[in-house]
């Protein structure tokens, strides 16, 4: 419990520090939001020309898209230091974290927040809301479904977090991991913005197992929209998110025990 209190206090301090640079925050939120919109314009362009992507209409893809962006945006907002973990390895800054009498990950996450990234999550939420509203009105998605996708977007954050923990943990041995993020995170998360059925079978299998981004959105949404799948996937998805994140943390702890400082 003290750990949580401590973390929240760290986050508050980090937030206060960030808010000293207000223009930076405003511009940042604006641009990250714009980038999301720009990205969505492309998708809208495809979907206004063709009725569907692999049988999914624009609102159905909008659900996937919004959920994926919310999960990623929240992760980027609350774990900027984990995302920059290479620096801790290369410059030996990790030693400082080891000096604190509480879990290193807690200290790491509490060190910094990037509220401007919430701009992307917000934009994703707008797209999700519009899509969910339309699907609700046409009767494709019931009230339970609307609540579920909103909650799942937040829980889904655990999946990028888990991917990031695993990638960072590799850093305990490999040190240089900047490139690895493209494989482990950017490409899978980008892929998760669209129905996984468009991809070749092997890629779909990869995205619902080793890199389980499919459980952020595709697997439960496919069932909620009555396309295919069984009701138990609604339970499975949050369990996978929690389990995968736990696995990431276990791997992180394992890596930590093998940490050798670079010295200074």
């Amino acid at each position: 419990m003290t750990a949580v209190v401590l973390y929240l206090r760290c986050v508050r301090a980090a937030l206060r520090a960030k808010m000293q640079y207000k223009t930076d925050f405003v511009m940042g939120s604006l641009f990250y939001g714009m980038l999301t919109v720009a990205d969505f314009v492309m998708l809208a362009a495809i979907l206004t020309r063709f009725p569907s992507v692999a049988g999914w209409n624009v609102y159905e893809v909008g659900l996937l898209y919004g959920m994926s962006w919310i999960a990623m945006g929240l992760y980027r907002a609350f774990a900027p230091e984990l995302h920059e973990f290479e620096r801790y390895m290369v410059q030996g800054e990790f030693d400082v974290l080891l000096l604190r009498p509480w879990p290193t990950l807690l200290t790491l996450l509490g060190r910094n927040v990037d509220p401007a990234r919430l701009g992307a999550a917000f934009q994703g939420a707008v797209i999700l809301a519009i899509s969910a509203k339309t699907l609700f009105e046409t009767g494709t998605l019931d009230a339970f479904g609307v609540v579920y996708v909103a909650a799942a977007s937040v829980v889904g954050t655990l999946i990028p977090l888990g991917l990031s923990l695993m990638t960072a943990a590799v850093g305990f041995w490999a040190v240089r991991i900047g490139e690895l993020y493209t494989f482990m995170m950017y490409a899978p998360v980008t892929a998760s913005q669209y129905p996984l059925t468009v991809y070749p079978r092997w890629l779909r299998a990869l995205l619902t197992s080793v890199l389980p981004v499919g459980f952020i959105n595709f697997v439960p949404v496919r069932y909620l929209l009555g396309k295919s799948g069984d009701p138990w996937v609604l339970w499975l998805s949050p369990l996978v998110a929690v389990g995968f994140c736990g696995l990431g943390y276990a791997f992180w702890r394992f890596g930590e025990r093998h940490y050798q400082s670079t010295g200074s």
Partner: protein
């Protein structure tokens, strides 16, 4: 002329040192390309396509532009100018008896030449094997394509040069970089041909200097357009040259050498 060429050569050689690390980027870039192709095929696969663009054309469109990214778009932030402004090295760079605009651009050509061989070529081979290559049928396409690619690279360089120059006036040049990124994603046509964009965006994209980077060269390569597709790139190359040179003069006067 020699000084410009020499700086390009040096940068090329520096890049070659990191070729193994860059190969990892290539694999990632190829994966992104395949994701985009898969999305297009998911959308257009069963239908006959839209207008001049059928599913196969769109797949090649994406592949061509994924390759183009490495020579016209993925350039270092502000071509290294913001960093030089921050450290003060800019005063030495401007002191050289060289044309600053030309010097910065030719230095970057070293990287671009490197990327052409070590990034574009492998990527093109991978895409070619998986998606298939479009071999232009008309002989006239080849010189046109060369012109379009050169103009695309030049316009890309000018964009980044202008971001670099913004560092003379503001320490927040990275927001200019982000803005450029967002506009590029939406309006260059690197994934979606701009004439397929929804209503106001199609003509906005047409008149802004992003379509000449991807849309126009891709149309020439796929033989959907002829020489007329060079009009906008030529206009923008001219305008951007004037803007770059004008602002360079202003920046030169603005330059303050800080002590210490």
């Amino acid at each position: 002329m020699n000084a410009y060429l020499l700086s390009a050569k040096k940068v090329f050689r520096r890049n070659v040192q990191y070729r193994a690390a860059h190969m990892v980027n290539n694999v990632a870039s190829a994966i992104f390309g395949f994701i985009y192709v898969a999305i297009w095929q998911g959308a257009a696969g069963s239908s006959a396509g839209v207008g001049e663009y059928d599913a196969a054309t769109l797949a090649r469109w994406v592949a061509f532009n994924q390759v183009m990214l490495w020579i016209a778009v993925f350039l270092p932030h502000g071509l290294g100018i913001p960093e030089a402004v921050r450290t003060g090295a800019i005063s030495l760079e401007m002191l050289r008896p060289l044309d600053f605009h030309l010097f910065v651009i030719s230095r970057e050509l070293g990287t671009i030449w490197y990327n052409l061989w070590y990034r574009c070529l492998p990527l093109a081979l991978v895409f070619g094997l998986v998606i298939g290559v479009h071999v232009p049928q008309r002989l006239s396409t080849y010189p046109l394509l060369l012109c379009a690619v050169v103009l695309s690279v030049y316009i890309g360089l000018c964009h980044h040069y202008l971001i670099g120059l913004s560092a003379f006036w503001t320490i927040q040049s990275r927001w200019a970089f982000q803005l450029l990124n967002a506009l590029h994603v939406a309006l260059s046509g690197f994934m979606v041909p701009i004439d397929l964009l929804p209503a106001p965006f199609d003509w906005i994209a047409r008149v802004l200097p992003f379509a000449p980077i991807h849309h126009d060269p891709a149309r020439i390569y796929l033989e959907l357009s002829g020489a007329e597709a060079l009009a906008w790139p030529l206009v923008w190359a001219g305008v951007l040259t004037l803007v770059c040179r004008g602002l360079t003069m202003k920046a030169r006067r603005r330059l303050e050498v800080q002590g210490g």
